[in-house]
């Protein structure tokens, strides 16, 4: 990854009538970076992608994609990008091969190069034995792979993926994530990905931006975002005896969540709290099975930032102290 910016947005805004879908967002993405764009439904993720890929113009503000202004030179900007829109949109009446070649031709990829690249991609995405199969006959997972082949046949500098794994089975999601990571590593391809899958973003992305109600509310590496909310740092403790009353061991008003076989205690100072729990447990002869300090998950960061931190995370029950 180089420091050279390849996508730069400044004051990017989009109105739909009176409603502001994207509100003066600005960011810079470096060449070779995998950038994740997270946000709740209707936050403005897809609208941002649609502006950056030239499908809709911004109401105000601008962005440069591969050095081209998306308002003044949209066609030049699109020459450098590959797009996988939110809903699969391969031509149902064209075969797998025809769909890929069509995109290659639209990007003016020379015949020999697009044939070679098409063969490589269909091999990579396990579509090689389906060259003649029509788009309409493919499953959702295979169609999404075809969409990626169509986006990649021109060897774009930037790949835009709008919810690429939504609704896919685990195997297809895995294939797509793997190949995107490989393209980024081997070809220094910049990837801009919107997703609902927060853990996927954490695994895949060098940096993550969080958009809420049209505003960019956070942008940083997943690690830095996790570290940015001290209140969501925690201590996870499990005792050999499941009947232990946790409130006997701590002097705090911290939020305590009962896990299946232990407790999680949220605190800004997890080290001190862990020491306190360990000391008191030892003094009272309580055996500790495991004791860990944890930084927040990206999901917790997301919920916290989008003002939903109060909602209990799935699989956990808020416990009464004691």
């Amino acid at each position: 990854m180089s420091a050279e910016p390849i996508i730069e947005a400044e004051g990017l805004t989009r109105h739909y009538g009176q409603r502001v879908a994207v509100d003066h967002i600005g960011f810079s993405i470096s060449r070779g970076e995998v950038f994740g764009f997270l946000g709740p439904n209707g936050a403005g993720k897809s609208t941002t992608v649609r502006m950056l890929t030239g499908y809709i113009p911004p109401t105000s503000g601008t962005a440069r994609v591969a050095g081209c202004d998306i308002v003044a030179e949209p066609v030049s900007a699109r020459q450098h990008i590959g797009v996988v829109p939110e809903e699969a949109s391969a031509y149902a009446d064209l075969s797998v091969w025809q769909n890929i070649m069509l995109m290659g031709e639209l990007h003016s990829v020379p015949r020999r190069r697009r044939t070679e690249r098409g063969a490589e991609l269909t091999e990579l995405f396990a579509l090689a034995d389906r060259h003649n199969q029509k788009g309409r006959d493919l499953s959702k997972g295979l169609r999404q792979r075809l969409m990626l082949c169509m986006a990649l046949v021109s060897d774009p500098e930037i790949l835009f993926l709008d919810e690429p794994t939504t609704g896919l089975d685990v195997a297809s999601s895995h294939v797509i994530r793997d190949i995107v990571t490989r393209m980024n590593r081997e070809r220094d391809m910049t990837v801009f990905v919107t997703t609902h899958n927060i853990e996927e973003a954490g695994d895949l992305c060098h940096r993550v931006g969080i958009i809420d109600q049209g505003r960019l509310v956070a942008i940083d590496t997943p690690q830095a975002l996790r570290g940015s909310i001290d209140a969501r740092r925690s201590v996870e403790v499990r005792f050999a005896d499941r009947m232990v009353v946790i409130s006997d061991l701590i002097d705090t008003n911290a939020e305590i969540v009962r896990l299946a076989d232990g407790f999680r205690i949220y605190t800004a100072q997890p080290g001190r709290l862990a020491q306190e729990v360990a000391t008191r447990a030892t003094n009272r002869g309580i055996e500790i099975a495991s004791l860990n300090t944890l930084t927040p998950s990206l999901e917790e960061v997301f919920l916290h930032i989008t003002a939903r931190a109060g909602a209990p995370a799935p699989g956990r029950v808020r416990a009464d102290v004691g």
């Binding site: 499908y55 699109r78 949109s89 639209l106």
Partner: protein
Amino acid sequence: MSADALHRLRRQAHAAYVIAKKDAIIYYLKPPVISFGIVFPLFFYLAFAAGRSVPTGTMVPGIVAMALFFTASAIGPLVTPWERQARTFERLVTSPASLEAILCGDVLAGMAFGALLSLVPLLLGICLAAHVANAGCLSLGITLGALAFSAMGVLMAAPPTNAPSQIMMLSSLVRLPLIFISGVFVPHADMPAWGQWLSPLSPLSYSADLIRVGFGGAAYFPVPLDIAALIGFAALFLATARFIHRVTRDKAR
């Protein structure tokens, strides 16, 4: 023109050709479309001309003009709504093809389809003793007519809808009246005054006029006017389609 501008123009011309090829494969080269393109105008014309002892010199240019009009403007109105519905339009718009190239590609496909299918009644007509007196006018009538009619179809597809049935209604509503004021069924001289006044508003009038001259008939409009009008209509339809797409793109979600 700078070398860079010329390079960009060539790329867009190529993109238009690629889109036309895609349209041909997906929408035009289907047996039902081809047979409908030939059979419908033929029967439509015969239904009107049967029993009226229309001379071959009038009937053949009429059928050729009708076939051209119906085939060149038949699919164009549906391509964009279909593509919006299938979400493939978004893929095209985010490709390096400009809006102008996409529209020109759609026009090119309709034009080629119309011109090629009109050869069927043309050759049948020649076999049935119709005499080609002016091949230049005949070719221009077919080529420029196909261009104008196809551009009209692309204009009908411009309003933002992903429901092809809505455009079908609009298409029939526009195309059928144009036939009756174009001198295809009723010679201009026999039309009522209001018909003669409305006739210049239909691009079919000019194309049918050139085709008629091609078969040795009398011109109703001066030939240069026929040519200029067809080019003008095509330009007007395309410019309006582009304008509608630009406006609706600004409001798109």
